[in-house]
């Protein structure tokens, strides 16, 4: 009997060991690191309490990075939601080649981010890039894209949207497929037009799916690093430096372990707040099932 009760824990034992080493240990260790001054070594340190956290409040680079992180996530997730929802509605119709189109829509999401970002980088090139050529054809002024502090962040957000919209599409499409048809039929009988159908019938039923997609994408965009690092390394003039990039630079370029750890603790806190919000939503959807 005791053996029977132990069975689930014996089965998950190996996974629990991995979680202790690669989840609990790094989290506790990072918290401790953020309370220490390492100087230039990784072994010798002195305890400094909350000194780094007090410094953060006065660090303009940190505050700007936090702002950029929020703009980056908020902007690219909003754009991905709109684009992804349009794509889902397109794919929800039956037309010849719908399966092939669906596959093509998915590719940006799974292609290697470093490789895609490199190609985007060549397309953004202000003198030879094809994007400026398109602008020229359309009679619009050319842009400096990544080369200017004014447009660098928004250029990367375009790439992020391109990579994120397919994910939103998949989730909204799953939501559309699982939608009951009766409310739609009765709305049609009552003479609702297309816009009314969307606003008052379809959208309320899709809300849960869209919230899931949005929150997943917010968390994923807060974690974005490869495309920013490949395209601008946070520049020019730190114009695209998010918290993740700032934390990376502090920890691995300046080897400022203590202060870097404090910045990363703040990033972690941001993700934690959003995740708890998400789990609250998720629990509610479990209860209503």
């Amino acid at each position: 009997m005791a053996l029977k009760r132990l069975f689930p824990w014996m089965m998950s034992g190996p996974t629990i060991i991995v979680l202790v080493i690669f989840l609990a240990y790094p989290l506790i260790s990072l918290l401790l690191m953020s309370l220490r001054d390492y100087g230039t070594s990784t072994i010798n340190y002195t305890y400094v309490g909350t000194r780094w956290y007090e410094m953060l409040l006065r660090d303009q680079r940190f505050i700007n990075g936090l702002g950029r992180t929020l703009i980056y996530s908020g902007g690219s997730v909003a754009a991905s939601m709109v684009l992804g929802t349009i794509m889902a509605f397109v794919l929800n119709r039956n037309f010849p080649g719908v399966a092939a189109v669906r596959t093509m829509f998915i590719l940006p999401m799974v292609a290697m981010p470093v490789a895609s970002a490199l190609v985007w980088g060549t397309m953004f090139n202000p003198t030879q890039g094809i994007l400026n050529y398109f602008l020229e054809i359309l009679g619009l002024p050319k842009s400096l894209w990544l080369a200017s502090p004014n447009t660098a962040l928004i250029s990367i957000m375009i790439v992020e949207t391109w990579m994120s919209a397919p994910f939103v599409m998949l989730i909204v499409l799953a939501g559309l497929r699982s939608m009951p048809v009766e409310p739609l039929e009765s709305a049609q009988i009552d003479g609702a037009n297309r816009l009314q159908m969307f606003l008052y019938v379809i959208f309320p039923m899709l809300r849960a799916a869209m919230a899931t997609a949005a929150l997943f994408k917010i968390i994923d965009t807060l974690k974005q690093f490869p495309i920013i690092w490949v395209l601008t390394k946070g520049g020019p003039l730190r114009a695209s430096e998010t918290l993740y990039v700032y934390g990376y630079a502090l920890g691995f370029q300046f080897f400022d372990l203590g202060y870097g750890a404090a910045v990363l603790m703040c990033l972690l806190l941001l993700v934690a707040v959003i995740s708890f919000f998400w789990m609250g939503l998720r629990r509610r959807s479990w209860m209503t099932e």
Binding site: M104, I171, W229
Partner: protein, 293 residues
């Protein structure tokens, strides 16, 4: 009588005209829809089209402005990458690390997924979710220090272990829903026949979930294959994987767009093929089962 005849004829004509009109109108109504599909396809596929196109251009054609659509194709870029860079070695590193972390993730994660599917372990599910949500950089500072002290920097085993952070949560969560699909009656009758709890897992649940394991492995493989941050921090010259290699390649040969495009094409193709195989399960895999397809 004649009047009635004319009326009948004309109403028939009106009816005929209105059906052709309707058909034309229906076709016309479809036009904006197909325009929208084409527009979206161009937006989402252009990068890949441009990547493949550029990879076949000679250096002199790459930097021409306005960009060329028609040019003399060449395999020179691919040849350069294969001959002048340690591409094959880096490909080997990528494959070793991806297969290692997927395999290890399976061995460790399968029993846990089964236990969670049958016994619901809320604390463990929460911990796994947390691991998926946390930005990877948060793990990197402590791991970097620990790896340095243990001499694990720039080792294959070190990178394989670190990639468990990617593959293990995914494996556990996706496999939970596949194990839940195994009918409990089959398991119960096996237990009546004297099979142990572990025997049920190993001889019944695992074989019945083989297709799910293939899907899970492919999803985990893509995660490991695409990852950049772990190898950037914990890797080195001996363990450089392809994402880091292509990143370094850009640094050294900033203007060799053709070469960059050739590497990018070679790196993206395998993942695209795998994606097409598992696309039915993508939602489940990428949301850790938050949405079931």
């Amino acid at each position: 009588m004649a009047g009635q005849g004319v009326q009948a004829v004309s109403s028939a004509a009106i009816r005929a005209r209105s059906t052709t009109q309707q058909r034309i109108m229906q076709a016309v109504n479809q036009v904006p829809f197909y325009l929208l599909v084409t527009f979206l396809l161009i937006i989402f596929m252009f990068v890949f089209f441009w990547m493949v196109l550029t990879s076949f251009k000679l250096p002199r054609d790459v930097t021409v402005y306005p960009p060329l659509l028609v040019f003399e194709p060449t395999l020179q870029n691919y040849q350069n990458v294969l001959e002048k860079t340690p591409f094959m070695q880096q490909l080997g590193n990528s494959i070793i690390i991806a297969l290692g972390s997927v395999g290890l993730g399976m061995v460790l994660g399968l029993p846990a997924a089964y236990a969670m599917a049958r016994f619901k372990l809320p604390g463990l599910s929460l911990a796994i979710l947390v691991m998926r949500m946390i930005p990877t950089i948060v793990f990197m500072l402590p791991l970097f220090v620990a790896y340095q002290q243990m001499g694990l920097i720039d080792t294959h085993i070190g990178l394989i272990l670190s990639h468990l952070i990617l593959t293990l949560p995914l494996t556990v969560w996706v496999m939970i829903s596949f194990f839940e699909d195994v009918p409990p009656e089959v398991e119960q009758s096996a237990m009546v026949d004297g099979c142990s709890r572990f025997g049920v897992f190993w001889r019944i649940a695992v074989p019945l979930s083989l297709p799910g394991m293939v899907v899970t492995s492919i999803l985990a493989f893509i995660q490991s294959w695409n990852n950049f941050i772990f190898v950037l921090i914990l890797g080195g010259s001996r363990t450089t994987t392809l994402p880091l290699a292509v990143f370094n390649f850009m640094g050294f040969e900033m203007l060799d767009f053709g070469g960059v495009a050739a590497v990018a094409t070679m790196l993206s193709l395998p993942v695209m093929v795998l994606t097409i195989i598992v696309q039915r399960w993508l939602v489940q895999g990428l949301t850790l089962g938050a949405v079931k397809s």
